[in-house]
């Protein structure tokens, strides 16, 4: 046989596979090309399908004829030998130039056929589309419904990238929510707050009278499931100069020692201590879960959590200004020395004042009781 005849025979020997798409249409495809898809390959080898028109391989439902065409183009190019890496890359770049909708459908189709190189290529393309866009732009590109509820939106967005705009937004949300809360349920919250107050005060008394064991107090006061706190406890021995609740207790100890005298010393606490206190406040408020022992029902807990976060934001932004204010206030009035009987002093307040001043209290559980006292020297 001559060479020419042989080659003709060889090309006629190329085998074909029959594939059926969701719409029922049946296509004939070269076997080598179709075998690059693991799913098709499996069907051929294990079930023996596809060799004739009556027994085609049924493709998964996400693969419509247009997509199948694209996928086969891809397979055809890549399984042909003798092409350099550069050529492959250029082909890929051109290949993924299509509408976003088509790209998503293609990803899904390639995934259902388990064609990993194509899945990787399309995911990379989608990632490139998303990269650098704002959430609104991404929503527009992919027609994602903006279905975060009002409440969820008002929850302070975790300011992960520390965007000043988000910070401002969170502050606005916080103020708005505070107004909402005040309008809606003033009395209930007040009652609950008093409840919370007393507990904290007991702990406070415990601390002032009894042990200065920071860890012990921490566990009674803050039974929050906080990984970070546990890590801190473990690592606290060595090298962390980070937010340290101990600094708070130093502050309290100083307060305690000088409780008989004027409160001036406390007011003039060093900036570092206030900074640490501020950090501690912020730290407390970052926590997702609240005290399980407070005896509050979950709904109330959620509200309190939100208030807590609100006020953290308010406090953190206004801390220093407030301090100045109070300092100037404090200088004008005579400061009554605070005795150890703090629970007694609390009961002196009317419920309204209690309400006003206990927000910071709830905000920071026991820790901020001190700040509460700190804030209102003129009432003592």
């Amino acid at each position: 046989m001559s060479e020419g005849v042989l080659s003709v025979v060889r090309s006629e020997m190329k085998s074909y596979i029959w594939l059926q798409t969701t719409d029922g249409s049946i296509q004939q495809v070269e076997k080598e090309v179709a075998m690059s898809c693991p799913v098709i390959c499996q069907e051929i080898l294990q079930k023996g399908l596809g060799s004739s028109k009556n027994y085609p391989i049924v493709l998964p439902e996400r693969v419509n004829p247009a997509l199948l065409g694209l996928i086969l183009d891809y397979c055809r190019f890549h399984q042909a030998p003798g092409r350099s890496n550069k050529e492959h890359k250029t082909f890929d770049e051109k290949f993924i130039r299509m509408s976003t909708q088509r790209l998503c459908e293609l990803t899904s189709a390639a995934y259902s056929l388990k064609l990993k190189p194509l899945v990787d290529l399309t995911c990379r393309a989608l990632a490139r589309i998303i990269e650098g866009k704002t959430p609104e732009e991404v929503r527009e590109t992919f027609h994602i419904p903006d279905d975060l509820t009002e409440e969820e939106k008002l929850e302070p967005i975790r300011n992960i990238t520390d965007d000043p705009h988000i910070r401002r937004l969170n502050r606005l949300y916080a103020k708005k929510r505070q107004e909402l809360k005040e309008r809606d349920k003033p009395r209930n919250t007040r009652v609950k707050e008093e409840h919370v107050d007393e507990r904290s005060v007991d702990d406070l008394l415990l601390f002032i009278n009894g042990g200065k064991d920071s860890k012990g107090v921490q566990t009674t006061k803050n039974k929050k499931k906080n990984r970070r706190r546990k890590e801190k406890e473990k690592d606290s021995a060595s090298n962390h100069s980070d937010v340290c609740p101990l600094s708070l207790f130093e502050f309290n100890a100083a307060y305690d020692a000088r409780s008989e005298d004027n409160v001036d010393h406390i007011l003039s606490s060093t900036p570092s201590e206030t900074a640490k206190l501020q950090d501690f406040v912020e730290l407390e408020l970052e926590l997702d879960e609240s005290d399980s022992d407070d005896g509050l029902d979950p709904a109330m807990k959620k509200e309190l959590d939100r208030e807590v976060e609100n006020f953290a934001r308010i406090l953190n932004s206004n801390w220093l200004e407030r301090r100045q204010e109070i300092l100037s206030l404090g200088n004008e009035r005579r400061l009554v020395p605070v005795s150890g009987n703090i629970s007694g002093s609390i009961s002196r307040f009317t419920s309204k004042q209690l309400f006003y001043f206990s927000f910071p209290l709830i905000a920071c559980n026991c820790g901020c009781l001190y700040s509460w006292i700190f804030f209102t020297p003129h009432l003592l």
């Binding site: 995911c123 998303i130 509820t149």
Partner: protein, 451 residues
């Protein structure tokens, strides 16, 4: 009306596709997807690769502010993350030694982490806490500018396959025991160590890359080694100390690597020069091609040339295909001998690249040309040698003899590229000599590169 028909294109794709997309996004964009819609709120939190660098946070001009915001970002991201973390990469020069990093590592050691890359800034080097040694599933470890101190109870990383320590302060015994206690170690890169005497026991090691000041390298148990790249530096006094000893460095270093396929011997710049040049040491074999020699001391070749050579080398490097040696001093007989030995014991050598030392001192006395007849057996043919590149040639007699030897014994040679570094007269002289040489290969091309 059309808008009603257009559905959400992407949120309903399978989770593995979404994760595949999110992994390819920079971490700050991935986290931003949490505000797209309710379905997207926590999709990013299960991403298994976390890569942090300076671009994660909006930078200001104040370094301490940047540092604080980066720390906050990473801490929050770790805190909000759910599920296992397989890869954690931190490359930033804003953080040096910080207690936050200790906490992050403690957190990561509990998440079955597999790949850890830590590259911190200059300044005080970060002291790696002992919780790193509790990461049982670690397969890749890369540390830049750290201090490593394995605890005595450390039994090794049993799954570690790739180790890259760059400017890491660690005791020599600790390094050796670390290497030998990682049974699966396949790829190792040690860069910028000072005065290290290293004995390597690594039965699975395939790729080795060493750079720095070594006083001794002994590859004791590395039978599977496939590629070696060494940029070595040795001070004068160490070299002298070696002259007195009788152990053969060639055997110590290359005696136990029968499967070697590629050997590269660079020169090592001193640290000052390192800062001037821009190195990108990201993979095991990203070595820089050196054009100018600044300060250099002895290269690997000098190290190899030291010691008494016991006659014929017992090993044949039957897989060795590529040899690249820089800074070969053709004035030193011992170094030439080393090169010859390597070439003659590699029957399948395909590519050879030799770079001479441009600062070659003029020869004292007549060169010993009989040396070539003595050392080269008359029946040696380099049967597979196809490409030879000789750079920084100064035209000294031994260099020309070497080229002559190669041309005469390479029947399948395709190209011989010569780049001289001498003035015009020298070039002409070289060319005249080159013309005379016999060529065993009819299709050999001699390319004489002028600057």
């Amino acid at each position: 009306m059309d808008d009603e028909l257009i559905q959400d294109l992407i949120s309903d794709l399978p989770q593995s596709i979404i994760e595949s997309i999110l992994i390819r996004l920079p971490i700050q964009d991935a986290v931003r997807t949490s505000v797209l819609s309710s379905k997207w709120r926590y999709k990013w939190a299960t991403v298994t690769h976390l890569v942090f660098d300076n671009r994660c946070v909006a930078l200001s001009n104040d370094r301490s502010v940047d540092q604080a915001s980066l720390v906050k970002f990473i801490t929050r991201a770790l805190f909000l993350h759910q599920g296992p973390i397989h890869k954690f990469q931190l490359s930033t020069n804003y953080l040096q030694c910080s207690p936050d990093i200790d906490q992050w590592l403690l957190f990561l050691s509990r998440t079955d982490i597999k790949e850890l890359f830590l590259e911190l800034g200059d300044g005080e080097w970060f002291r790696v806490p002992s919780c790193l040694f509790n990461c049982k599933k670690l397969t890749r470890l890369e540390l830049f500018r750290c201090e490593l101190d394995p605890p005595p109870s450390f039994k090794g990383f049993l799954c570690l396959r790739s180790l890259n320590l760059h400017q890491v302060l660690v005791a020599p015994e600790a390094i050796e025991s670390l290497i030998s206690s990682c049974p699966l170690l396949e790829s190792m890169q040690l860069s910028y160590f000072d005065s290290l005497a290293l004995t390597i026991h690594a039965p699975n090691l395939k790729y080795l890359c060493l750079e720095g000041e070594f006083t001794d390298i002994c590859l004791k148990n590395t039978p599977l080694l496939v590629a070696i790249s060494v940029a070595m530096y040795m001070t004068e006094d160490v070299a002298e100390h070696f002259e007195q000893s009788s152990s053969c460095n060639f055997i110590k270093f290359l005696g136990g690597v029968p499967l070697l396929e590629k050997l590269v011997g660079h020169i090592y710049f001193t640290k000052v020069k390192y800062m001037i040049l821009d190195f990108g040491l990201s993979s095991c074999f990203s070595y820089v091609s050196l054009q100018h020699a600044f300060i250099y001391m002895f290269s690997i070749l000098k190290y190899l040339s030291i010691g008494d050579y016991p006659g014929r080398l017992p090993i044949t490097y039957s897989h060795l295909r590529v040899i690249e040696l820089y800074q070969v001093s053709f004035e030193d007989m011992n170094e030439i001998l080393v090169v010859l030995r390597l070439i003659l014991n590699s029957p399948n050598l395909k590519e050879l690249q030799i770079s001479g030392s441009p600062n070659t001192l003029p020869a004292i006395g007549a060169p010993d040309l009989d040396f070539w007849e003595k050392e080269c057996p008359s029946d040696c043919t380099l049967k597979r040698l196809r490409d030879v590149k000789m750079t920084d040639m100064s035209g000294v007699p031994h260099e020309m003899e070497f080229i002559k030897f190669l041309l005469a014994n390479s029947p399948v040679l395709e190209s011989m590229t010569i780049s001289p570094c001498v003035v015009m007269d020298g070039k002409v002289h070289m060319l005249i000599e080159l013309l005379r040489f016999r060529r065993a290969s009819p299709q050999a091309e001699i390319l004489f590169i002028q600057d």
